[in-house]
């Protein structure tokens, strides 16, 4: 092929389609030779020890994935875990594309928040089974096809050394913070949407809470990280963000302080599930079992997240009560909630 192209080129102008084909061929040739996307021979009937390739789709932070896989491989060295990690939106985009051109090309989904997991479960895309430690997960944080693995806590950060720092959610609407409060846009991230979902339905808050924030000049920023950046740099005095992100920034030396809201941090659970079309079911189930086991939970806790199991220590301090949105009730109400939110904060 190459020889022919070269021969033609010698008497043809360069602007020929063959050159284009050659370029495309070159591009294709650059692709890795490996032709083993999902392997692992199905172990018919009697599940042997897990082995082969396990494909994990996840939006969980990379260091947590790395730590859990390393610990998993110490117990199951014969499984090679391939990870596709992307932020929730991109991950869901990939899954949407794959669903509509065949099937999801993964064995496992490990998501950041339950929103997308719930809608996949509603479409019957997950495998129903019971992990060994399923009941160690609080009943509110699991179903018969997915199980919470860790908790993300929405908390308050504020500037260091404030005489009268905010102690609870309602303090963010106080006149002393007028114009200096940052809230992450719930239209961009599941965790921020979880906060909206909680406030919208909780007693004493409702959408009036957002109206009060807006009336006090609160500013919506794009992401959780923007809240931290804005408060650390002094643009804002306080804001809503994730406990782990705040702790990491404080540990790195950022001028911030974190407050666990008196009435409770908003806890968001991070579910894991086995896809119905999983190729390597044995390994996938062993991975879920592992993440819910004490060792797996310890690995999660070691990276700074609160493990879902209350009986596993080593996680970050939980400095107060925790509240949670009713995810099942939020399901299918995304559009309505976001529309109402946007009528207050614009966009």
């Amino acid at each position: 092929m190459t020889a022919r192209v070269r021969a033609r080129r010698s008497r043809a102008p360069r602007l020929c389609p063959l050159a284009l084909l050659a370029a495309l061929a070159l591009l294709a040739a650059c692709a890795p030779v490996s032709g083993t996307p999902v392997s692992a021979p199905a172990v018919g009937g009697s599940p042997g020890p897990p082995r082969g390739t396990l494909r994990l789709y996840s939006s969980v932070t990379q260091d947590t994935i790395d730590a859990v896989i390393a610990a998993y491989n110490r117990q199951f060295p014969d499984v090679s875990v391939e990870v596709f990690r992307a932020p929730t939106g991109q991950l869901d985009g990939r899954i949407a594309g794959e669903l509509r051109s065949g099937a999801v090309q993964a064995d496992l989904l490990w998501a950041t928040d339950p929103l997308s997991t719930q809608s996949y479960a509603a479409k019957d895309l997950f495998r129903a089974w019971t992990p060994a430690e399923a009941t160690s997960v609080p009943a509110a944080d699991r179903s018969n096809v997915f199980w919470g693995t860790r908790l993300l806590n929405m908390v308050i950060v504020h500037a260091p050394g404030m005489a009268n720092p905010p102690r609870d959610w309602h303090d963010l609407t106080d006149a002393s913070l007028a114009g200096r409060v940052a809230i992450p846009d719930p239209g961009f991230a599941g965790s921020a949407f979880g906060a909206l979902g909680y406030f919208a339905t909780a007693d004493g808050y409702g959408m009036d809470y957002y109206r009060a924030l807006k009336a006090n000049g609160a500013v919506q920023v794009q992401s959780i990280a923007d809240t931290l950046t804005g408060v650390a740099e002094g643009q804002f005095l306080a804001g809503i963000t994730l406990d782990k992100s705040a702790r990491d920034a404080i540990a790195a030396g950022s001028p911030l302080e974190m407050t666990w809201p008196v009435s409770g941090a908003i806890a968001i659970y991070s579910p894991i599930a086995v896809w119905k079309d999983a190729q390597n079911v044995v390994a996938a189930q062993s991975f879920v079992d592992f993440v819910l086991s004490e060792d797996g939970q310890a690995a999660v806790a070691g990276t700074g997240w609160q493990p879902i199991r209350a009986d596993v220590s080593g996680g970050p301090a939980v400095d107060g009560p925790q509240v949670a949105p009713d995810w099942a009730a939020l399901f299918d109400r995304q559009d309505a909630l976001l529309t109402e939110y946007r009528s207050i904060f614009g966009g």
Binding site: A31, P32, R94, G190
Partner: protein, 538 residues
């Protein structure tokens, strides 16, 4: 007739590429999005979505106007006058090109925001930076290199100084010469640049998200990415697609109209054999203005970005005690370095392929060129994430997890960047030159090689540079399409960091900038050996 045969072959190639890169993936996408009927599309247009459409349109038009004016002024200054420090000025004008889209807004807030550098040092901040005015300015600054490269490429194809000098000698003032000679001859390049700038602005996400959300200001892209975050819901996913389709339709209609206008006959004249640079010295004020603008709009934000990358943790003052190079170490672990190869390979492959496609499309003939130029902006106008979904739909089962699927998506996305500069230059190339060479006995190959390609070289270089840099920075497509062995540097580093840590993101941007600088240096060495390939870096 050899010409005719090759022209037909070129047509075949262009149509095949259009089918594979644009028609099939977009048709798959549209079928998914509009499967539920037109209701979703109408729903996307009506209600609050309408405001986002209007916002996108006027922001993009303003950016296009600003960037074209600034790019033209810059090109006139560096190419048509003997300005002091020309090479340095060229590099400074091109510098925003190396700042990835996902940090450009951040570099500005760090430079001029409420707690930025200017506030720290002088106690002043840029009013309106948060909000639509800031979006327009930041996008325009980022788009100037695009306009500048294409205009310079267009200027260099033909030696207008002759005609300008003739006009001046005949008594025309410099403004009259510019208006009646330079501008009409630059028209195709202006159209080529304007179309790209317009679509790039329509497509921008990072800047409107960072500067627009605090002001409650939405564009179509922020709506699309917002819906993508909820793409597990069928309704949101369909809205992503119908809004994207709508955006493509709007963008391509406007570009199409402009291209038709630009497709009108351009005066063609002979080639100059005289010296290229005109003798006119740039007035002192022009040089001063240029350097002031470049300093404020390019160098200060770049410096703010580097300072951020060097800061130990976000929120610390950039004083020596708080500075560290550790962020680069964190950004560049072994995993990331391994993926640098993928990034460079993809960027280089896409640059070569896009330029080849651009040349083939140009060879296919001038009659349909304007329409062809509009058509290739189709896939350029699709937001990266959505284009990636389209590629998954079209080629996912065949090319999953290969570099090829990322490469195909990059080529679809960036084809326009390779083609429009070349076409903008070729429109000004007289067919007489080719005929003259052929009449003198040169074979078609020899004529193209010795006459056409050298004249197009600056435009080819411009296209290749643009595609290479855009592909190297690309992250929205690759983060959807990468596989176990095909991650790119940007994807890996963005995945490694927590959740949008600005310090590490800046470090990534600086690393990518260093890669571009290194490769540009290598390119310069090559250029020294083969001066005809000099392009605009020479």
């Amino acid at each position: 007739m050899a010409e005719r045969r090759w022209r037909l072959a070129a047509w075949g190639g262009v149509l095949a590429a259009l089918g594979l890169l644009a028609a099939w993936p977009l048709a798959r996408l549209a079928a998914e999005g509009l499967g539920s009927g037109l209701g979703a599309l109408v729903g996307g247009i009506g209600g609050p979505g309408a405001g986002a459409i209007v916002n996108s349109l006027w922001v993009s038009l303003a950016v296009t106007g600003l960037a074209l004016a600034a790019g033209l002024a810059a090109a006139m200054l560096t190419e048509r006058s003997a300005v002091a420090g020309r090479s340095a000025l060229r590099l400074a004008i091109l510098a925003p090109l190396v700042i990835p889209d996902f940090v450009s807004a951040m570099s500005w807030t760090r430079a001029y925001g409420p707690v930025g550098l200017s506030h720290r040092l002088l106690g002043v901040e840029l009013p309106g930076l948060i909000g639509p005015a800031g979006i327009v300015v930041v996008l325009a600054v980022g788009a100037v290199p695009l306009a500048y490269l294409i205009l310079v490429g267009g200027m260099r194809v033909r030696a207008e100084p002759d005609l300008e000098r003739a006009a001046r000698a005949s008594g025309a003032g410099s403004w009259t010469a510019f208006r009646t000679v330079t501008l009409p001859l630059l028209w195709p390049a202006l159209v080529a640049a304007g179309g790209l700038v317009f679509v790039t602005s329509m497509n921008a996400f990072g800047t409107p998200a960072v500067l627009g959300r605090p002001a409650g200001f939405s564009t179509m892209t922020t709506r699309i990415y917002g819906d993508l975050a909820f793409a597990s819901s069928d309704e949101a996913f369909r809205r992503v697609i119908s809004l994207s389709v709508l955006m493509v339709v709007v963008a391509v209609s406007i570009v199409g109209v402009v291209d038709r206008l630009g497709g009108r006959a351009v005066p063609r004249t002979g080639v100059s054999t005289g010296p290229r640079a005109s003798a006119g010295r740039a007035p002192w004020w022009a040089t001063t203005v240029a350097w002031t603008v470049v300093t404020l709009a390019v160098l200060v934000p770049l410096a703010a970005l580097v300072l951020t990358a060097l800061t130990r943790a976000v929120g610390l003052a950039p004083v020596p005690a708080n500075l560290t190079v550790a962020n680069f170490g964190r950004a560049l672990d072994a995993r990331a370095l391994g993926d640098l190869g993928n990034s460079v390979l993809l960027a280089a492959g896409t640059a070569v392929a896009a330029v080849v496609l651009g040349l083939v499309a140009t060879a296919a003939g001038s009659r349909w060129r304007p329409r062809l130029n509009s058509v290739v902006t189709l896939t350029f106008a699709v937001p990266g994430s959505v284009l990636a979904v389209a590629m998954l739909l079209a080629y996912g089962s065949a090319l999953r997890d290969t570099l090829a699927i990322i490469g195909v998506a990059y080529l679809a996305k960036l084809w326009a960047l390779g083609q429009r500069p070349i076409s903008g230059a070729a429109d000004r190339l007289s067919g007489d030159l080719l005929y003259a060479a052929r009449a003198s006995g040169a074979s078609l190959l020899t004529a193209v090689r010795t006459v056409v390609l050298p004249l197009l070289a600056p435009a080819i270089a411009a296209g290749a540079i643009l595609v290479f840099v855009f592909a190297l920075h690309e992250v929205t497509i690759s983060i959807l399409l990468y596989g176990p062995r095909t991650a790119t540097l940007a994807v890996t580093i963005l995945n490694l960091q927590q959740v949008g840590d600005p310090v590490l993101t800046s470090a990534l941007a600086v690393v990518l900038t260093a890669v571009v600088a290194l490769l540009a240096g290598l390119l310069l060495l090559v250029v020294r050996r083969w001066p005809w390939a000099g392009g605009v870096l020479g």
